[in-house]
Subunit: 263 residues, 6 copies
């Protein structure tokens, strides 16, 4: 189990943020691959105080509506541990239904990851990507996408190692980040207190090659201009290049440690 602890800073701060970060500065990003033993692929992704366990399982068979298509499928699920939030969040299994926010987030994660999977190469198999937030301090859906991609990659690596797949059925990598406008200033990677104070909230999902998969911008209180929107998208793209680089490092490191073990 290798740990990568990388902290990124871009130049001198232009304006003080909560926690002293620059407007375009990510929180410290820490990834622990192999966090869940029985999972095919898993990571603990920590982005500042936001911590998400992402696990991917590769299972034979596909949902009924896709049977006979010779193509696979990917389903993502997202959940907050009750104690992950400042005020305890009631457990959805106890209430008997997932709330709207959960449904919306897991649909976003699923769409984002499906965009880079080659389902023909996967064959009639289903990838389950489970994202369980153990501590929530803003940006959990983006952390889930970035971590979910890593878990997915590791699960597919294992399937290749075991001969279940010939090659990785992946066209690119995926990362996500949030941006927003707080007190008139566009900032990257909002923590909870910033998110609560944001006028605009935006989540961007991008591939490692710099193509967009999903852009979701929402005016929290005041509608925003096209200019503000463009600025936020620039900020997000910059942050996503950094996260993408960390993802590459994590994957490379796992390949190396396996090679070392095998060699």
């Amino acid at each position: 189990m290798a740990d990568l602890d990388i902290q990124y800073t871009d130049g001198p701060p232009t304006k003080p943020r909560m926690g002293g970060r620059d407007p375009g500065e990510l929180r410290s990003l820490h990834v622990t691959p192999g966090f869940i033993g029985p999972a095919d692929g898993s990571v603990l992704l920590e982005l500042g105080r936001t911590r998400v366990i992402c696990a991917a399982s590769l299972v034979d068979g596909v949902p009924g509506w896709r049977r006979g298509s010779r193509e696979g499928w990917l389903t993502a699920e997202y959940s907050l541990l009750p104690a992950s939030t400042h005020q305890r969040t009631p457990r959805e299994a106890s209430r008997g239904r997932q709330d709207g926010r959960t449904v919306e987030i897991q649909r976003l994660i699923g769409r984002s990851l499906r965009a880079v999977v080659d389902f023909g190469a996967l064959g009639e198999r289903t990838l389950y990507v489970d994202c369980d937030v153990i501590e929530a301090d803003g940006g959990t859906r983006c952390a889930a996408v970035s971590g979910g991609y890593l878990a997915l990659h590791l699960a597919l690596m294992k399937a290749v190692d075991e001969g279940r797949l010939r090659a990785l059925p992946l066209a690119d990598s995926v990362a996500a980040v949030s941006v927003g406008v707080v007190a008139g200033m566009p900032i990257l990677d909002l923590e909870y207190a910033e998110d609560a104070a944001a006028d605009v909230d935006m989540n961007v999902v991008m591939t490692g090659a710099g193509k967009l998969i999903e852009v979701q911008a929402t005016a929290e209180i005041v509608p925003f201009s096209r200019e503000a929107f463009d600025q936020l998208l620039d900020l997000a793209e910059e942050g996503l290049r950094t996260i993408s680089a960390v993802q590459t490092e994590v994957i490379t490191d796992v390949y190396r440690s396996r090679a070392g073990r095998d060699g």
Copy 2:
């Protein structure tokens, strides 16, 4: 019950689309205000073959978590009539739960409309905006936002007329439109067959004053470039100015017909 039937065309077609529309051409837009008698405000909005009944009800009281805040709330609900789609859609009430797409759409409608309501001026009242699609040919969520705004405006007009409110608690108007890339060409206001063939699918919600409320872009198959994204947003903004103009005309017409009746 006044009907407005407006058809917009922008110059000669540059490239053939299904149904012969130009890339930047809206479908014909038809609004029937007062479509549901008992509702406080209602319209039937028809955008080509897509038809949505939007109804707004103003009810005293707010959800528990907002009680004592002296502020109101707005909840949107969205549903497809089973026969509205080419293949019958099973009724959600029979299955005992709303599916993820429904939840996601009604959250979008709710956020979009809440962005222009002054909840302090509304006081502890709840606006329910019900959007029931009676025929679905693409763009139903956008039609629901545009029509939902009209129903909302009419319901608030009625509350002002009846003396429940002193003035319209609205900061601006709201309209939504879809854009997408089909066969490499960015097009406005996709009908169902185009939507099914789209590489990128994007919904944009904008105020009458041209400010953005929500931007949601999704890569259906292939991730997209920042340039494509910018082009789509331009196309959407143009279409939204047209829808916004129709909304103004509908509202003006209702005011006029009331004045005529009263005078």
Copy 3:
């Protein structure tokens, strides 16, 4: 899309009712066939201010318990749009279950329509009849039966036209009407305010040939005598002959307009 607007009056009023109707007078009845484009058969049926969209879909296959029987099935579903009632009715899909009244009504509609369908001739196909009330002013279940029959007939006509069926698998037509006792007077086709004041509430379903399919009489407050019951049934039979005549006219008109189109 042809419209039929027929208003029935039977002689001079003997006693004043709400809206000035005679005791044995139906509300104005208006049918718009083809109201929902994608449906196999559909109508908007308007009975005074009560308005119901009825749509029928013919789908291959039958429920599990009927598989292998070589016989078809018919399922009816009924729903009130939230804004259809004076006080907004909460959406059943949001609450996660259909209430008892809905279940009871859709069972009545299903039994009524199944009584005239020849399921052997239909083969292993399912007819879904969806009745969505867009405005409720009393008598919605009866309007749903009468309109549901029309949607069903139109859907089966289409299946015959397309060669899916050799002949209409229908033994007769079906119509329904409500009768009741208000302030001691038996009256036909109660609107909501009358229904709320009724001592006895009765719904009668009859075929075009004058045979009974379903009779449901309920004492709302005071039990009633056999004589009152017999009087009400007489009144209902008379009203049903009128509705049945309108149904015939609607169907005939659709056949004529098709013949004109084809000829």
Copy 4:
């Protein structure tokens, strides 16, 4: 615990039925009052092989929508024990929802019993009438109404004895019976095998004074004539007079045994 075992026969058989009964003959009717110790009022009602436990509980308070009205309410619930039917019926609590038939039946029982309760005299109290079928051989809903009335009466007697109520808040008694047409012959009180073969199925609820509370007639296969309907209603009224007489006997017997105990 007193048992009453009464068998009614009306003249010589005119035509053979299953089990040798005359067309207008009830099955043997057996009532065990006080069958459930903790209930305020209860009976085991046995009608041939159909056996139903009916229990009534009088609880302070009313449902929210009736609070402040100074009037009471009555709620009926109906359930089949899984082993009560020839093929085991899956338990509704395990499946998480009541099926349509259950909902329809318990609404019928509730309406029937409410028709004779004086809710003003009851005050803000709720009567729960639970009807649990332990063996089902046709006519369970009618047995539940007839037995439910007895449980209700006994519970109210107890409340009067204990001084919770000044007088019985009952305007009349209630009984129900089924009639139907089998092989062209109108018959009374159908057992399961007859019910399955019936062309018309009808349930009639009547007061002890001979007034109608509910009439529900359904064509199972072939629509029926007004004449057949009238004949069935005659047959039902005759049967109901017999059931009503048994109810009176049961109640009288309980009063006597109490008087004996107290005197």
Copy 5:
């Protein structure tokens, strides 16, 4: 339908209990075999005022996860009739879910009965054991196990009689009893009022041969010593020998009455 009414007393009372029982004395135990006509096997088991209907149904097929195993399965279900308890218990089917206590109890009954069934000899068939409490005065889960075993045995006897099975697929019999500590005194077979006052509550399931199947001891208020625990287990084993003897008597009696009928 044979009735067995057996009352067991062990020596002179050492200390007064509610109802005058000795600490080690069972309540009177009464079994009515064949209580539910349509069930394959059934009993009414009465233990003092606690009364449970137990019914067993043998159905072809097994749950999906066990298909192809050539082994059978047993599922137990437990329910309280609403009126069975002093304060009416809301019906689980109405609330849409079984509560935790019900789930826990039916799992206990299922495990207890499965321990003596030879599922290989049963083949791919499912035994449903339904335990419906009609009156609850403490010890219902134990009464359900003891009665459930009898229903199960009778259902299997019937299957052997009908040639569906060659021999009884049973390794032993099963009985259960509760013990507890009330006011410092270990007592057997607690009735409700004792149970509510108990410091320790323990349920023991044992085979006829004296082997343990399940031991569940719970400190209600104060944790208990190992010594107290051992004493309780002794008391339970003694009571279980008595119940087991009654079970043998019931089964023997049924065999005898069948032999008499056949001979």
Copy 6:
């Protein structure tokens, strides 16, 4: 965040077990207090490969049925992360209900912890103890009890520190362990593969003072003798003394580190 890593071995192995443990040897036990930042009290408890996050939250108010009692309440919830098991476990929130095993386990945890809380001293507050298994290798319910106690203790310490409580409302500590018989040999603390092969499965909950709270023994295949039962209970008591000692050490360590920080 202090880590305690303690490995317990009791003398030389007498017989080989999976993983080389002695029959009476616990797996390595590792506790990380403060694992979840926002929780009032939390630990990650690792028992061999079994890993559970336990978090306790202290919330003002109690469930409705306890209001006005001046006493608090404790509710425990238990969940398996989908990827925690070898074959992915479907998420209960997606299926809309908790399964029977989950319900049974969380009831056990709740009863065990409630046995040592002084609810009068707690006042009208609710303790939520959430146990989320991130890796399941046998003994998860016992790990949840032992870890749940620690989370509970830490949450109450925090409440005392913050002045919400005057003193710890705890009468004792609580720990749990599993024992079982595998291949005829009684063993302590079964891992998953042993559990799957066990003839008898037993969970014991004990206080730090050595009093029993809960004993649950189940015959998985073959009923067991009283002697085997007694042996298992001896083995469990020994293991529980060890776990209890670790709990004391963890708590002491947290107190010390706080004192160091404050001093």
